[in-house]
C-alpha cells in the first residue's frame, strides 16, 4: 500500500500551496465542529496517511448530488477530494468511458479490496429484475452489490440513496429502493438532501478520510454533526414563529418583512439538515432566506407528504385527498349528528315510557 500517495501529495501535485492546505484543514475542523487543536491533527493525517480510495456509482438519480459536490465552498475540497475520487471511478466525472471505465471499476475493487469507500448516488430499482436502470449492460443493482461486497463503508448520497426520493414516491412503479434496504451487511452513512449541501458532503468524506472512521451517526444513520438539529431550530426567522407573526400570502406585508413561513407550508420544523447554519452556494443563502419555505427534501418520503405549501399532510388512504382536519371534522360531524339523532330518539322513547308507566300504574 506504500505506493499510494497521501492526501497532501495529491494536493501539492494539484498545485495547492502549503498555506491553502492549512486553511483547508482549519475550515474542515470548523465545519466538523472540532476545536482548533484538531487542525494539526487533520494536517498530520493528511500528510502521512495514504489516501482512501473512493468509488462513486450512480443509480436512478438526477446528478444533483454531483452538481452540488463540485460547487463546494472549500476550494480545495472540490479540487482535491473530487480529483482523488475521479482517480478511481465515477462514471459521470471520470475521463474514461465504456469498457475502459468498467475495467477501472474492476481494477479499483481488486486493488483496494476491503479498503475503499463506496459512495452511492441514486438508488437501484428492483422491479423487472432491475431493468429500469442499466449500467454497462447490467442492472445497476448488480453493480451496486458487486461494488458493495468489498467496500469498507458505504455513503448514501442524497435523498435517492438514503430514502428513495421522487422515483420511490407512491406508487413507485420501478420499486426504487434505498441502498440500506438492498445492502444489509455494510456500515451505511446516509447523507440525505436533494441535493445534500456541498460542504456537508465534503465534510463527511474528509472526516472519514482523515480519521479513518465513521462519523457519529444518529438513529436514522445520518452524521450527527450535520443532521442532529432541525432547520427550524437554527432558523433566523424563528423569533417571528414564536411571536406568532406569519406570512399569510406570498405578497403580503409579512412576506416583505421576512416573517415566519410556517403557514405557507414550511417544513423546517420537521426537517433535519444544516441549511440554516451552513447555507448554500458558499454560505450565500438558503430557501427560507430567499423567501420560500423549506420543502423537507432531506426527510424520508418527502414527496408523499402532500403539498409543499401545506402544514397538514394529505391522507391518501381515505381515497380522496384529505388532511387530518378534514378527516377529523367529518368523523366528528358524523358522530355529532348521530348523537343528536340518538338524543332525539331517547327523548321520544322516554316520553313514550312515561306515558306507558302512567297507564300501567
Amino acid at each position: 500500500m506504500s505506493q499510494i500517495e497521501t492526501f497532501y501529495e495529491v494536493m501539492r501535485r494539484q498545485g495547492i500551496t502549503r498555506r491553502s492546505f492549512m486553511k483547508y484543514c482549519s475550515l474542515t475542523a470548523a465545519a466538523l465542529g472540532l476545536g482548533p487543536s484538531f487542525v494539526p491533527k487533520i494536517a498530520h493525517a493528511m500528510e502521512t496517511k495514504p489516501r482512501t480510495p473512493v468509488i462513486w456509482i450512480h443509480g436512478l438519480e438526477c446528478t444533483c448530488c454531483s452538481e452540488s459536490f463540485i460547487r463546494s465552498a472549500h476550494p480545495l475540497a472540490k479540487d482535491v477530494v473530487l480529483s482523488m475520487i475521479s482517480l478511481d471511478y465515477d462514471d459521470t466525472l471520470m475521463a474514461a468511458a465504456g469498457h475502459a471505465a468498467e475495467a477501472a471499476l474492476q481494477d479499483t475493487i481488486e486493488k483496494y479490496k476491503g479498503n475503499y469507500i463506496l459512495a452511492v448516488e441514486g438508488n437501484p430499482p428492483l422491479n423487472e429484475d432491475g431493468m429500469y436502470c442499466i449500467i454497462g449492460g447490467k442492472p445497476f443493482v448488480e453493480q451496486l452489490r458487486h461494488a458493495a461486497e468489498h467496500a469498507k463503508a458505504i455513503i448514501s448520497w442524497g435523498a435517492c440513496a438514503s430514502y428513495g426520493c421522487v422515483q420511490a414516491a407512491a406508487p413507485n412503479p420501478t420499486r426504487a429502493t434505498p441502498v440500506h434496504k438492498v445492502i444489509l451487511d455494510k456500515p451505511i452513512i446516509k447523507v440525505p438532501g436533494c441535493p445534500p449541501i456541498a460542504e456537508v458532503m465534503t465534510g463527511v468524506i474528509t472526516y472519514m478520510l482523515t480519521f479513518d472512521r465513521m462519523p457519529t451517526l444518529d438513529r436514522q444513520g445520518r452524521p450527527a454533526m450535520f443532521y442532529s438539529q432541525r432547520i427550524h431550530d437554527k432558523c433566523y426567522r424563528r423569533p417571528h414563529f414564536d411571536a406568532g407573526q406569519f406570512v399569510e400570502t406570498w405578497d403580503d406585508e409579512g412576506a416583505r418583512k421576512g416573517f415566519c413561513l410556517y403557514k405557507m407550508g414550511c417544513k423546517g420544523p420537521t426537517t433535519y439538515n444544516a441549511c440554516s447554519t451552513v447555507r448554500w452556494n458558499e454560505g450565500v443563502s438558503f430557501p427560507i432566506q430567499s423567501g420560500h419555505g423549506c420543502i423537507g427534501c432531506s426527510e424520508d418520503g418527502f414527496w408523499d407528504q402532500g403539498s409543499f405549501y401545506d402544514r397538514l399532510t394529505n391522507i391518501k388512504q381515505f381515497g380522496v385527498e384529505a388532511n387530518a382536519d378534514q378527516v377529523g371534522m367529518a368523523a366528528a360531524g358524523v358522530v355529532g349528528g348521530a348523537v343528536a339523532v340518538h338524543a332525539a330518539v331517547s327523548a321520544l322513547k322516554r316520553a313514550q315510557k312515561k306515558t306507558q308507566d302512567k297507564v300501567e300504574g
Partner: protein, 240 residues
C-alpha cells in the same frame, strides 16, 4: 342487585336495598377533572399549533411571544396529562377495583361480552330498561379503554416524541421517545398521526358527555354527580 361489568362485584354487597356505593375514590375524581381540563387546553392549543391564528402585530418580533405562549400552554398541559396518566395508572394498582377498569378488558369473560351486547341493545332502543352498574358499564369500559387508555397513551408517546424534537438530541425526552421519530422516519407523519389522535379524543368527548348526561337522566343510577362526589346512588330498589 347491582352489578359491575363482571361478576366479582356481586360479592360483599347487601342483597336488598342499595342506595349509595362509594365508587370513585378522590384521586380518580381529581384525575378525571384535571385530565378533562388538560385535554381541553391541549385540543385548543394543539389545533392552533397545526393551523395558527391570524398573525398579529407588525412590531419587532421580540415585543411579543403569542405563538410561544400557545405552544407553552400545549406543552405544560401535555406534561400535566402525562403525570396525571402515570398517577392514574399507579392508582389502578393500589386503588379499589373500579380504578382498574380503565386499564384492562376482561375479554376472556363470556358474561362480560353478553353485558356489552346488552348495553349495545340498550343504546339501540331494543331494551326497555337498562341494568344497574356500580362501576362503568361494560360498553363504557370498552370505550374508555380504546379512547382514553390507548388514545391518551398514544398521544402521550407521540406528543413527547415531538417534544423531543425541540428538546434536542441527547435530551431525556429524546432518549426515552426518540425511537418513535426513527420509527416513522419523517416527523411530518408523526404530526399527522398526533393530529388525527386529537380528533379521536374529540370524538370520545362528544360521545362521553352525551352519554353521561343521557344516562344520568335515563338510567337507574347517578352518573355525573358520581364523578364529583364519588358516590353512586340508585333511583330504584329493584334488582339488576
Amino acid at each position: 342487585m347491582t352489578k359491575d361489568s363482571h361478576a366479582l362485584d356481586i360479592e360483599g354487597l347487601p342483597v336488598n336495598r342499595q342506595t349509595s356505593v362509594y365508587v370513585y375514590e378522590a384521586p380518580v375524581r381529581i384525575w378525571h377533572w384535571v385530565n378533562a381540563a388538560a385535554i381541553l387546553v391541549l385540543c385548543v392549543t394543539g389545533y392552533f399549533i397545526g393551523s395558527p391564528p391570524p398573525s398579529v402585530g407588525q412590531h419587532e418580533a421580540y415585543n411579543q411571544f403569542i405563538f410561544g405562549y400557545i405552544r407553552f400552554a400545549h406543552f405544560a398541559a401535555g406534561m400535566i396529562l402525562t403525570v396525571g396518566f402515570l398517577g392514574r395508572a399507579y392508582w389502578a394498582v393500589i386503588g379499589n377495583h373500579h380504578a382498574r377498569q380503565l386499564f384492562y378488558l376482561p375479554v376472556w369473560d363470556g358474561h362480560w361480552w353478553r353485558e356489552v351486547l346488552f348495553e349495545i341493545r340498550w343504546y339501540l332502543f331494543l331494551e326497555r330498561e337498562p341494568k344497574k352498574y356500580v362501576g362503568h358499564n361494560p360498553l363504557a369500559q370498552l370505550a374508555m379503554f380504546f379512547f382514553i387508555t390507548l388514545g391518551v397513551g398514544f398521544m402521550i408517546v407521540t406528543g413527547l416524541a415531538l417534544y423531543a424534537e425541540g428538546a434536542g438530541q441527547g435530551s431525556i425526552f429524546d432518549d426515552l421517545f426518540g425511537w418513535v421519530i426513527a420509527l416513522v422516519g419523517n416527523t411530518q407523519r408523526l404530526h399527522t398521526l398526533h393530529h388525527l389522535g386529537m380528533w379521536w379524543i374529540l370524538i370520545f368527548m362528544i360521545v362521553h358527555i352525551y352519554v353521561a348526561i343521557r344516562e344520568d337522566i335515563m338510567s337507574r343510577q347517578s352518573i355525573v354527580s358520581t364523578m364529583i362526589s364519588g358516590h353512586r346512588t340508585f333511583k330504584d330498589d329493584r334488582p339488576d
